[in-house]
Structure formats: structure tokens, C-alpha cells
């Protein structure tokens, strides 16, 4: 990994950061690529003669998912599966469920290994469990990658005990027994259900039969399209989200927040609010003024009756244009000289995007003098538990964090801000509260996918690409949700501090043989709330690159699909590209104002390609009319869930490329709800979508974030071809 992890141009650490503890720096460059190209490399299939091979990049060899898997492994065996006396198999899953379908996929793994009926398996979300350490973190599309081995082995071990218990009961050899439909079956047809064996299996002292997970060729359920285990609860309105949790006496609580980002309270006159019937408490907290009442309608009215004088937040003075200029001046310099004939230069800007999950942020908290209980959806509950304990002055083991199902996340619930607020208010007023952010709170004070600026230079000669340089500058992404601790726990031989540069190095790759490939990230700290947003750096990084690939192909007089096929490193990416080109009828005649566009992406040990058709006759109101996606995740545990993830990635792509983002005006977010943050609606979704899941080819890779970059690139490329423009700033209609 010559040159990998090189850090250049590093400024001194700032001292004024609240929680930076010296790990942050003002400006860093991480080189996510070898600095030199050499003639030979390993790990890829042979390439076409013309393409100049590029060395494997760091993330090709050790990616973020590998690191998280390493960190989670030491405690993987402390996860618990139990068979109850009624035969229900219960597994406490140390992950968040935010719609990605991990509870269904894990239930499938357990049912498969146990030969239990899927309906007998119940997957619950585990409370924050400090002993699990970094095996209770949901992020980086790693859940199936980290759980695949241990969950199957735990279930196989449980099956071994059930079979052993049956063998003892019947006085037969365990090896002649089989399991099916939640029962152990003897050769003569006798059966004992798991329910009948649960107690004996738990207490059996004889050694259980050897229990190795099944060979993949014997799978009956894993790999089969399977509906969500909670589908009926959802469609009948029974599914409980945080604000639906019943906690006796919990007061409806909302927070009056400042007009500027991170503004602070100077003074508050709460006379009118307190006089309202049903208002129980008005509490000043760090982020504003909380009003607690017997119901939300009263709390909201009382909030509006508060008279508050605010002090401007630290972002006042910052607007889109000033931010863009800061980013432009922060990009690292290009190295290869830009000669007119052989260089293709392009610069791109991407706007801020909020996570905007459908379920607004919220938490229920009941803080007493000696203990606390908190309910909220959380991707990093152990870190959250520590922070909550610190905020309310209790020992960590006296703070119970219940992880509730999330109404969407997209990275937002890596942070626990509403839980901190709820806990502090509950402690101050001595009563349980259910604290909810309004949609305007979420839009104006939520975290943002950082705006970014990109400078790319592709240098080519005689049809080859000799060098591909990508310089990205982005507002610093807040990764203080346990990322650094995971890196430490993994013991991974990674260089440099655990910050955005390292994250970038562990995730950024360019899938092409473009000679000397360098991808550099410059992060610029700004006093704005940021956070990892589905696919983190990759969405903007790879979209910009795929646009340049299309423009390179055009400059070289090559077809975009054929050009990619020639230049791609891996057989997997070539295969998914070939699949969408065939199924999506690449190259077919399109009417004026319509066009096709493609994009590919490889990350999380998975690969995908997307081909879209767009109707951009009205460039201000384009519509993606058809999309074809192919996806290779190594082993698709639940193809239905996988297809859903790809569809979701496509909608994120349509939204963020064409129409959805937020503006910063003098330290304030301009938008306030889905009324002006234009996330896609039904009328923006393609009428025809086909997702092709490639046959199993190995272990499961990640899926949740995979779909965004390729689809975003495809949409941008289709728009460019349809309108004969070169889009450089996203979203295009903003």
C-alpha cells in the first residue's frame, strides 16, 4: 500500500473544540490511493489490453466493513439466542432496525440454521449492552457482514442442543435425527417440537452434537424472496415507534429552538405559556426552551407563547456562497499538468442534504435520582448511554437505553441528540417526558450531509487514461459517534487518526484502470451540524467521477457502456453493467428530450450498476421514467429486502441529483419541511423499475448504502444527455 494513508498539509489541532480532544485537525488530506503506479497488481481479473492498470486502493484491501467486523468479533459470542417454552426462538439483535430489514434477514438466518419456522423466530432489538462493545453499532452497511458468521453459528449451536436433548429423551444416536419445521424428527417419524425440548436443551449436560452451520447449497430459506416479518403490524398501524411507547405519566415535550443554527437563549418570558391549562413545566436546556404538557397540542401552543430573546449561533455569516468559496479554496492541488489536448477537467458542487427521516427525532426518558430509562431509535446505543449518563450525572450501569424501531434513519440516528434533551428535561422536572422534534426543528436544526466541492482531472493519451485525479473538499463530517473507538477496537493496521480522512481512505475507491488514480479529501470544519448520510462520501465522490467517465467517453468517441466495460477492474462490476445494458436496452432510440444514463459503484464488498431513462423535455421538471438496476452482494440473504434497498437508493439519487437539498442563509437553514425540501414523491418515481439480483457468489456484502452512488450518477448522466448540458451543481433544480 505504497503511499496509503499519507497525510499531507496537516495543520495544528485546534484547541477550542468541545469534544475534539486533539483528534481533529483544521485541514487534512488523506491519500486514498497509491502515489505510484506499477506494472503488476493482484486481486483482479485480467483487464483488456488497452486499459492502464491501477493499483488496488486501500479500501480494496481493507474496507470500513472489515474494520467494523474486526471490532465486533471479540464479543460476537455474547449475543444471546433463547428458545422459550412455547417454542418461540428469541434473538436480541444488537443493531438498529430503521427499515433496512435487518430483523427479517437475521430471523431468516436463525430459522435456516435451526430449521425453525420463520414465524416462530422473534428478533428483538437489544438494549444498550456495554459488554457488546463495538458489536452494537449500526453503520457502514455492515450489519449482515458482521452478523453472518456469529448468528449462524449461535443458531447452529442451539440446534445442536435441541437435537442432543431429543436424542437423550429417545435414547437414540443424535446423528440419526433431523430437524424441520421447529421440531426434531426421528427416523421412525416420531417428533419432538422445539417447545417440548426447550427446557431440557437448556439444561442438558451431555455434550451437544457437533453443530456446524449449513452448507449454502442446503439453504431452503436464505436466498428466497421473503416479506418483512413485521409487515402485518405495519399495515394495521400496530407497529410502535418511540412516540407510541406508553410510559405512565410521560409529558409531551417540545423545544423552542433558535432562528439560527446553534443559537442560544439570552432570556425567556414564559408567563403566558405557564398560564396555559395543561402546561406542566418550562425548562431551559442547552439547545433552547423545553415545554412539557399533558399533550402535544398544548405543548406546541405553549411553545409558541414563549417570548425568547436569542443570541445568534456561530454559523451567522455563513451562506451557501461563502461556504462554496471556502470549499473551492480548500481542495488540494492537482499534480498532473493540465495540457489542453489530453486533459479533461471538471468541477462539481453538491448542496447540503438533511437526513429527514419520516419519523421525526424523539425520545422518551424517565430519569430518577438513582436510575434512568430512555427509549429511542439509535445506531450507536453504547456511546449514547455513556453520554446520557454523563449528562444526568448517573453511573452508566444505572442508565437503561431501550432501542426502539426507527421510522427511517439514513445515518441520522448515529446521533442521540433528542435522547440527551429528553433525559436532561426529565431530570430537571423530575417527571418522565416524551420529547419530540417538530419537522421544522428537524429541517432547521438537524444534521446535514456536508456540502462538497470536487475538482477532477483525467489525463488521457491514445485512448488510454493515464491519470485520474479527484480532489474533494467537504464541510467536515461529524463522526463522533464511536467511529474512532471502533477503529481502536478493531486493532486494524490503519495509519493516522480516526477521522474523516481515515473513513474516506477506508471507503473511497475508483473502480477503473485509469493509470495513476488519486482521490483526496480535504475536510473543512464549520460550525454546522453534520453527519454521515447514506453512503457518506461515496455518493458525491462517485457521482462526480461517473459524470467525468461519461464525458471522457464522449471526448474519446466511445460509447459510455463499452468504455466502462473496457476500463473496469473487476469482473463483478462488468457483469452488473452488462446486465443492466441488456435488460435496460442500452442504446435504444429515444425521443428528443429523453435519454438514458448509466452509473456503476463498487463498495461494501458489493457491486451495482444502474441504467435510467429520463424525460427532460422540461429541464425544470425532469422525470426518471424507467430504471434498471443490477446488484451483486455476494450472497443475497433476502432478495426482497435487497431490492427494496436498491429502490430506496434510487429515490435518494433522483431526489438529491434533481431537486432536493437545503440552503444555508446567514447561519440559518432556509427550508423548513417537506414543503420546500423536495424529497421525491410518487410523481417523481419511475413507472417501470426492474432490479436484478445476481446469483450468489460468496459471502454477504453490504447493501443498505450501495444503491445511492451508481443511481445518482445514472440520473445525472441521463439528464446531461437529454438536455445536452453538463450539470455541475447538484441538485440541478434548486
Amino acid at each position: 500500500m505504497a503511499g496509503a494513508g499519507d497525510q499531507i498539509n496537516r495543520a495544528d489541532p485546534p484547541t477550542d473544540r468541545k469534544r475534539g480532544i486533539g483528534r481533529r485537525r483544521f485541514l487534512t488530506f488523506a491519500i486514498a490511493a497509491p502515489t505510484l503506479a506499477v506494472g503488476g497488481y493482484v486481486g483482479y481479473d485480467a483487464t483488456d489490453a488497452q486499459a492502464l492498470p491501477s493499483l488496488p486502493q486501500p479500501a480494496d484491501l481493507l474496507d470500513l466493513g472489515d474494520v467494523i467486523t474486526l471490532a465486533s468479533r471479540p464479543t460476537a459470542w455474547t449475543m444471546a439466542l433463547r428458545v422459550e417454552e412455547d417454542g418461540t426462538v428469541v434473538f436480541e439483535l444488537p443493531r438498529a432496525e430503521s427499515g433496512q430489514g435487518i430483523t427479517t434477514a437475521v430471523a431468516m438466518l436463525i430459522a435456516e440454521e435451526l430449521d425453525a419456522k420463520l414465524s416462530d423466530v422473534r428478533v428483538e432489538l437489544a438494549d444498550a449492552t456495554p459488554s457488546l462493545l463495538w458489536n452494537q453499532f449500526t453503520g457502514g452497511s455492515t450489519s449482515m457482514r458482521t452478523l453472518w458468521e456469529p448468528v449462524r453459528q449461535i443458531a447452529a449451536a442451539a440446534r445442536g442442543r435441541l437435537v442432543t436433548a431429543a436424542a437423550k429423551r429417545w435414547g437414540v444416536e443424535a446423528s440419526v435425527l433431523v430437524t424441520r419445521d421447529s421440531a426434531v424428527v426421528a427416523a421412525d417419524g416420531r417428533t419432538l417440537t422445539f417447545a417440548e425440548l426447550a427446557v431440557e436443551a437448556a439444561t442438558t449436560t451431555s455434550a451437544p452434537v457437533t453443530a456446524l452451520p449449513k452448507d449454502a447449497k442446503n439453504y431452503k430459506l436464505v436466498g428466497q424472496p421473503t416479506g418483512r416479518v413485521d409487515a402485518r403490524d405495519i399495515v394495521t398501524g400496530k407497529a410502535k415507534y418511540t412516540m407510541d411507547v406508553e410510559v405512565e405519566g410521560a409529558l409531551a415535550t417540545v423545544v423552542a429552538r433558535p432562528p439560527t443554527i446553534r443559537g442560544t437563549v439570552v432570556s425567556v418570558d414564559d408567563t403566558a405559556a405557564r398560564a396555559m391549562r395543561g402546561v406542566v413545566a418550562v425548562t431551559r436546556i442547552d439547545t433552547g426552551v423545553a415545554v412539557s404538557a399533558t399533550s402535544f397540542d398544548i405543548a406546541l401552543k405553549a411553545r409558541d407563547a414563549l417570548k425568547i430573546t436569542w443570541k445568534d449561533g456561530p454559523a451567522v455569516g455563513l451562506s451557501d456562497s461563502t461556504i462554496k468559496n471556502k470549499l473551492r479554496s480548500a481542495v488540494a492541488p492537482l499534480v498532473v499538468p493540465g495540457l489542453l489536448s489530453s486533459a479533461l477537467d471538471a468541477e462539481f458542487d453538491f448542496a447540503f442534504v438533511p437526513h429527514a427521516p419520516m419519523e421525526v427525532l424523539g425520545a422518551v426518558a424517565d430519569v430518577r435520582s438513582d436510575r434512568a430509562e430512555v427509549w429511542f431509535p439509535c445506531q450507536s446505543p453504547i456511546v449514547a448511554q455513556n453520554e446520557i449518563a454523563r449528562a444526568v450525572g448517573l453511573p452508566v450501569d444505572q442508565v437503561t437505553v431501550h432501542v426502539s424501531r426507527a421510522g427511517g434513519s439514513f445515518g441520522r440516528r448515529l446521533f442521540w441528540d433528542p435522547a440527551l434533551e429528553a433525559a436532561v428535561v426529565s431530570k430537571k422536572i423530575g417527571k418522565p417526558v416524551r420529547l419530540m422534534w417538530t419537522r421544522a426543528d428537524d429541517t432547521k436544526h438537524g444534521r446535514l450531509r456536508p456540502a462538497s466541492h470536487h475538482k477532477i482531472r483525467a489525463t488521457h493519451m491514445l485512448g488510454d487514461v493515464q491519470a485520474f485525479e479527484h480532489r474533494m473538499a467537504a464541510v467536515e463530517t461529524d463522526l463522533e459517534h464511536g467511529f474512532g473507538e471502533i477503529i481502536s477496537a478493531s486493532g486494524a493496521a490503519v495509519s493516522g487518526p480516526a477521522d474523516g480522512s481515515l473513513f474516506f481512505q477506508l471507503s473511497a475507491t475508483c473502480p477503473y484502470n485509469f493509470g495513476v488514480v488519486t482521490q483526496l479529501l480535504s475536510e473543512v470544519p464549520m460550525p454546522l451540524p453534520t453527519g454521515s448520510w447514506r453512503s457518506v462520501y461515496s455518493a458525491n465522490l462517485r457521482t462526480a467521477e461517473e459524470i467525468v467517465v461519461d464525458e471522457l467517453a464522449a471526448k474519446l468517441g466511445r460509447d459510455p457502456v463499452k468504455f466502462r466495460t473496457q476500463m473496469l477492474k473487476s469482473a463483478r462490476v462488468k457483469a452488473v453493467l452488462a446486465k443492466v445494458a441488456a435488460e435496460g436496452q442500452w442504446g435504444k432510440a429515444m425521443p428528443a428530450g429523453h435519454a438514458q444514463g448509466v452509473g456503476v459503484h463498487e463498495e461494501y464488498r458489493s457491486a451495482t450498476a444502474c441504467l435510467v431513462e429520463i424525460d427532460a423535455r422540461d429541464p425544470k421538471a425532469p422525470r426518471v421514467t424507467r430504471a434498471t438496476i443490477a446488484v451483486d452482494v455476494g450472497l443475497p440473504v433476502n432478495p426482497t429486502g435487497l431490492k427494496a434497498q436498491m429502490m430506496g437508493g434510487l429515490m435518494d439519487a433522483i431526489s438529491t441529483i434533481l431537486q432536493a437539498g437545503v440552503h444555508i442563509d446567514d447561519g440559518r437553514v432556509r427550508e423548513s419541511s417537506y414543503g420546500d425540501f423536495q424529497y421525491a414523491r410518487q410523481k417523481h418515481a419511475p413507472i417501470k423499475l426492474d432490479v436484478f439480483v445476481m446469483p450468489p457468489s460468496g459471502r454477504p456484502g453490504g447493501a443498505g448504502e450501495l444503491g445511492v452512488p451508481a443511481a445518482a450518477a445514472a440520473v445525472a448522466n441521463a439528464y446531461a444527455r437529454a438536455t445536452r448540458t453538463r450539470p455541475r451543481s447538484f441538485p440541478i433544480n434548486f
Partner: protein, 151 residues
């Protein structure tokens, strides 16, 4: 404060709240009916979509004073006991939901559309403005067509 009397999911209810109290909070906080979700409070995300006398409304923008004597149906009241509404059945068959938070509203919007027209066109389906942040729109379209065929 006046008492407002109306029907929710076939049951007669009476609530003693201010006239401008949004129906959403009457349902959720005063009556304990949590199927309709808060997503924006201003009628744009439509996560709370329910029916008033059979037509789709967003309870977050309907003051309780407008509900006097009306019949409100929430997601909890759409099925006939254990027999799901064809839209709910189609939602399960097509595995529409991801996080599920917007789906009660999506289902109620679809059911209201199918009450108006037996064979909705793509343009009519496009006119449903309920936000799904997970992006389940293609499956929603499939499920509406499936339910229409079943009805």
C-alpha cells in the same frame, strides 16, 4: 371548553378540548390512537392521512371543531376485524413497507383513491403526495394496482 362528539373507527367519542386542537393530537394524545403519525404538522408529508366520512384528510390540519358528528377512520379501523382491507393485503403481498412510518398514511390515501375510482390511472396514482422517505413508491404503485384488481 366545548365537548366535541364524533365517531372514530365506529366508536362514539367525546373530547373536551379547544376548538382549534388538531385532530391528530386528539387521536394520538387524547384518545390513544397512534396509527396516524406526526410527520410535519402542516399537511405536506401526509403521514397522518386518515378518512373523514370516507375521504382522505390530514388530521394534523383538521381542527377538532370540524369533526362534530363526523365519521373518522384511522388505519386501525380499515380492516374488518381480522380480515384485512384489500389495500392492506396488497401491501403485504408486495412487501411495500420499509421503516413503515408513512405506510398507515399511504394505505389510507390508496384506500380513499380506490373508493373514488376502481381502476386508477398512473396519473391518479402520481397525484398521491404522501412522502415515503424510504422511497417505496414503485411498490406502492404495484400494490395499488394489485388491490384495485382484487376489489
Amino acid at each position: 371548553m366545548p365537548t366535541y362528539r364524533f365517531f372514530v373507527n365506529g366508536e362514539h367519542v367525546a373530547v373536551d378540548v379547544a376548538a382549534d386542537t388538531p385532530l391528530l393530537w386528539v387521536l394520538r394524545d387524547h384518545l390513544g390512537i397512534t396509527g396516524p403519525k406526526y410527520g410535519c404538522g402542516v399537511g405536506v408529508c401526509k403521514a397522518c392521512t386518515s378518512h373523514m366520512d370516507g375521504a382522505a384528510v390530514t388530521p394534523c390540519t383538521v381542527p377538532v371543531s370540524q369533526c362534530q358528528g363526523r365519521k373518522i377512520t384511522t388505519i386501525e379501523g380499515l380492516a374488518d376485524g381480522d380480515d384485512l382491507h384489500p389495500v392492506q393485503e396488497a401491501w403485504i403481498t408486495d412487501d411495500v413497507a420499509q421503516c413503515g412510518f408513512c405506510q398507515p398514511g399511504q394505505i389510507m390515501a390508496a384506500a380513499a383513491l380506490l373508493k373514488k375510482t376502481k381502476t386508477p390511472t398512473d396519473a391518479e396514482i402520481d397525484a398521491i403526495e404522501n412522502v415515503c422517505r424510504c422511497g417505496t413508491y414503485c411498490r406502492i404503485r404495484d400494490a395499488i394496482k394489485r388491490a384495485a384488481a382484487a376489489m
